[in-house]
């Protein structure tokens, strides 16, 4: 007999998607079969970082037998973009980064499409590029979007047309000038982070078909099928009802498959060859140069504390290198503005966060959404302050970190969290107070700690919906529009539906693969670590809705009060009469009246929705407002490492993390997020995209852009879960998918300082950089 798990919330039940994935049966977009009618598309990429397009001649390419169409900017007059509508699907008058699609070729084979790409002649007039966001905001910097004033953006974004600034978020709280003299110690530093890439194992791929009937279908591995539908419908003037996005399993997202990147380009190709599906798959090189990246950051940050270690003031300017289009990036800068202090309720704050156009690939969401970038500097300064006043850095953080009910920088009251418990658990797991010996005379051992916070960064009203539907044998299909990226969304959906209905976990089937905007209930996007919370609330509502329908039928059937009835282990029970009614059959066929004189009930279908309704706008001059965000998730990470001082080689021995997830719906899945995130965070500290003076990427391969392998990952990754329930979370749950990598890099930097006495303000770290810093210090005679 199959085991039955009743009350599955809080239990580490197996993943619903694992079987498909270990057998190779799981289908990803590239695995879908379209038969011989399938055409292939390839892009013509810009070779220049910044240039005017003087002419595009596609005639030679079109003349090649087997080439079906060539599309260019002339075919795509409308601008597209998630928050800031600031780009053309194919470049029109100018190109803004090396790799930008200028034209798209459609042919009967991939090889022919590649050949035809070489026959497209584009005439350019080169312009001066700018790559560094700080340089791009200086007077006289080349203007990347001269037409910015014409663009459309939502009312919570504040671009400055006539400059390269696409967003300027201002935070003003208290009086920093008056606070500096009260500080015993002030640390002011500049930190730089390079562009990095998500590097999902599955590169971007999209298949589109534009039917003669007008229905348009896009198959894409997407974190945002519904947002993609919305953007495509708006930009290409298609009814939402005719635009269909189908998204099967996603082979790694990390934010890179949120919003839109190549998908619109493929839809435009399909429009040119109606009736034929067209497929474009990014090569690994194109994945690096022509899809989304994490923005670079220049941060100038000054923080001061008094002699007892109380942080009194902070002044910071964040310049995000948002790339050639900032459609998503503007909101990363905004989020980094309203969270600019990190997890500290500092009384006096002056923060300016800018998203800046640069001639680099398009910056977009990446796991952490601005938080890994800003915590890199904040968490190192906090360590320096603690050191200067002679306080243990863990104690310094316990004193200063945000606590329940604190008034945070935007004026909002901090919802319940327990960051101190996270610090306690992470430091205990790493053995914070214990002296650790290096394994060899030429090695140095060090420990570092960093803490974090992050709120889901979204528009104020992103919605979720869900449907549950019973089958004859009381198995239940759960429909959600949330995406399974590997984080376990489908599994927790099944757990929550079972729990709310009172049926075993094993009775639930998740009908969400693929997510299909034609059949799936609406979900804004699978981003921002919002799914367990937001989708979870919708699933719970749908299940409770179905539960009520069932109880009403049975209450009438038994002539009892609804209040006395419950569903337990798949059986309706009465606490009063102690009668029992199995769900089997009745959830579809209903129940007969006495002597079968008529029937009651009918097929049970429950629907539910959730949307936060309480988020307020923030004042454009001060960033103050009643409720900036829905909530924050907080956590602490501690790192134990060893450095070879003869080579600069770092060996991360252990990472210990603790996060306050509100309620772990599936504790083991939370731990797998914590583990994977720790290694992702560690890897990110050693990653960087390197551009030459012409803006060409020097390392667009997995050999030159290295991500952590099984040999690099620490042997020991420890995770702890803290559970301070979230008021409006399902069973108290809040998200944790991104948080797990936010502060790994600064925790490593703090551990390096502990080991070597050397600080690194700029990422990426490398053995070479560490080795040179040690040599430099020797030369300096320290």
């Amino acid at each position: 007999m199959i085991e039955q798990t009743n009350n599955p919330v809080g239990k580490s039940v197996p993943r619903v998607d694992a079987f498909d994935k270990v057998t190779g049966a799981a289908k990803y977009v590239d695995d879908m079969q379209f038969g011989p009618g399938l055409y292939y598309g390839k892009f013509v990429h810009s070779p220049y970082a910044h240039a005017l397009i003087k002419g595009v001649d596609v005639s030679k390419a079109l003349a090649l037998p087997g080439v079906k169409a060539v599309v260019t900017g002339a075919d795509t007059p409308g601008r597209i973009g998630l928050y800031m509508k600031d780009r053309y699907i194919y470049a029109r008058d100018r190109v803004r980064y090396v790799g930008e699609p200028v034209a798209g070729v459609v042919a009967i084979t991939e090889e022919l499409a590649e050949e035809a790409v070489k026959l497209v002649v584009v005439e350019y007039e080169e312009l001066e590029p700018v790559f560094d966001p700080y340089e791009a905001v200086q007077p006289g910097a080349p203007l990347i979007h001269p037409d910015m004033a014409e663009y459309k953006w939502p009312n919570f974004i504040f671009p400055e047309p006539g400059t390269n600034i696409s967003e300027h978020f201002k935070l003003r709280k208290g009086d920093v000038e008056a606070a500096w003299p009260k500080c015993a110690v002030i640390v002011e530093q500049t930190f730089r982070l390079p562009h990095i890439q998500h590097v999902p194992l599955e590169t971007h791929v999209a298949i589109a078909r534009w039917d003669q009937t007008g229905e348009v279908t896009l198959w894409s591995p997407s974190q945002s099928p519904f947002s993609q539908r919305d953007l495509l419908a708006q930009s290409l003037d298609i009814s939402h009802g005719d635009m269909r996005v189908i998204s099967p399993y996603v082979g790694g997202g990390f934010g890179g498959k949120a919003g839109i990147s190549i998908e619109a380009n493929v839809v435009v190709m399909a429009r040119a060859v109606k009736g034929h599906p067209v497929k474009v798959r990014m090569t690994r090189e194109e994945e690096f140069t022509c899809t989304n990246v994490r923005q670079s950051l220049n941060a100038h940050t000054k923080i001061g504390c008094d002699a007892e270690g109380h942080v009194l003031a902070m002044e910071t300017r964040y310049y995000f290198g948002g790339g050639a289009a900032n459609d998503y990036g503007v909101n990363i800068a905004r989020a980094s503005g309203y969270s600019c202090t990190g997890p500290y309720p500092i009384p006096n704050v002056k923060g300016d966060s800018y998203c800046v156009y640069t001639n680099t690939p398009i910056g977009s969401a990446m796991r952490g959404f601005g938080m890994p970038e800003i915590h890199w500097g904040i968490e190192q300064i906090m360590d320096r302050l603690a050191e200067e006043i002679g306080m243990d850095p863990a104690e310094f953080r316990r004193i200063n970190c945000v606590k329940t009910g604190d008034t945070i920088l935007t004026g909002m009251k901090m919802p319940a969290v327990d960051l101190v418990a996270c610090i306690d658990k992470a430091t205990e797991a790493i053995g914070w107070d214990k002296e650790k010996k290096a394994s060899a005379p030429h090695k140095r051992r060090g420990q570092g700690l960093a803490i974090m916070w992050k709120a889901p960064a979204m528009p104020p009203n992103p919605g979720s919906s869900a449907i549950v539907r019973f089958n004859e044998d009381a198995t239940l299909n759960v429909y959600v529009g949330a995406q399974e990226l590997g984080q376990g969304a489908f599994t927790v959906a099944a757990q929550m539906a079972a729990q709310a209905l009172g049926i075993p976990y094993e009775w639930v089937r998740v009908s969400a693969n693929p997510v299909d905007t034609k059949y799936s209930p609406y979900e804004w996007q699978t981003v921002a670590s919002r799914i367990t919370w937001s989708m979870g609330n919708a699933v719970k509502a749908a299940a409770l809705n179905a539960r009520r329908q069932i109880l009403e039928i049975v209450a009438q059937y038994w002539d009892e009060d609804l209040e006395n009835l419950d569903i337990k282990n798949g059986i309706v029970i009465s606490y009063k009469s102690e009668r029992e009614q199995p769900l089997k059959n009745m959830v579809v066929y209903g129940l007969p009246n006495d002597n079968f004189e008529g029937w009651q009930g009918g097929p049970i279908v429950g629907a539910g929705k959730f949307m936060p309704t309480y988020v307020t706008n923030l004042d454009s001059e001060t960033g103050q407002g009643a409720r900036a965000v829905v909530h924050y998730t907080v956590g602490a990470q501690a790192v134990d490492l060893e450095v070879d001082i003869e080579t600069g080689q770092v060996d991360i021995l252990k990472i210990a993390s603790a996060y306050d997830v509100g309620k772990a719906i599936n504790p083991d899945l939370v731990l797998t997020q914590i583990e994977g995130g720790a290694v992702h965070g560690m890897s990110s500290a050693f990653e960087g995209m390197f551009f030459d003076e012409q803006g060409r990427l020097r390392n667009p391969s997995l050999v030159d852009y290295k991500i952590a392998t099984a040999m690099d990952a620490p042997r020991e990754i420890h995770g702890d879960i803290v559970e301070t329930p979230l008021e409006d979370g399902p069973w108290g749950a809040r998200g944790v998918g991104e948080h797990v990598m936010v502060q790994t890099a600064p925790a490593i930097a703090n551990a390096l300082h502990d080991a070597l006495g050397v600080r690194f303000n700029d990422l990426p770290l490398s053995s070479e950089k560490i080795y040179l810093a040690l040599r430099e210090r020797e030369a300096g005679g320290e």
Binding site: V22, T23, D31, L201, G252, R284, E675, I707, A713
Partner: protein, 155 residues
């Protein structure tokens, strides 16, 4: 140019006409519909396309289909023939060693080949054997645990 090749895939003999420039990866996926073998780079850098050639793990993106003539190929689809999961597949499920799943087929085959030649590997040996299979999701911990779990069972 087209070549006729005969090879064994997951125990079954196939004779196919393949183009000289097509890789084993492309032929497995497009001619035989064995899409469990994934494309991550087509450059020998990620391991997503790992299959076994006469029991040895190879990057099928670097091998021409014609080179596979006369050899025995195993893909992830061959691990659970008859519906019974391979012990490694069970262990991957049990240890939650799967997230997005894109690296999983390649990981499983690299691990299977390791255990075939070294039934009781150390943790370091497991990590070394999997070093060519990139995973961006799991941090490798559970994957290593799963392989070690099976290696202990092999006793």
């Amino acid at each position: 140019m087209l070549h006729e090749i005969t090879f064994t895939v997951n125990g079954d003999p196939y004779t196919l006409a393949v183009r000289s420039e097509h890789t084993l990866l492309k032929v497995l996926r497009e001619k035989l519909g064995l899409t469990g073998t994934k494309i991550g780079c087509e450059n020998g850098e990620c391991g997503a396309c790992t299959v076994l050639l006469d029991g040895e793990p190879v990057n099928s993106c670097l091998i021409l289909a014609v080179e596979a003539a006369g050899h025995k190929i195993e893909t992830v689809e061959g691990m659970s023939i008859g519906g019974e999961l391979h012990p490694l597949q069970k262990a991957f499920i049990k240890h939650n060693a799967v997230q997005c799943g894109f690296c999983t087929p390649g990981m499983l085959l690299s691990a299977q080949s390791l255990l075939a030649r070294n039934p009781k590997p150390t943790e370091l040996e497991v990590r070394e054997a999997l070093a060519g299979n990139l995973c961006r999701c799991t941090g490798y911990v559970r994957i290593v645990d799963a392989v070690l779990d099976v290696s202990q069972e092999v006793e």
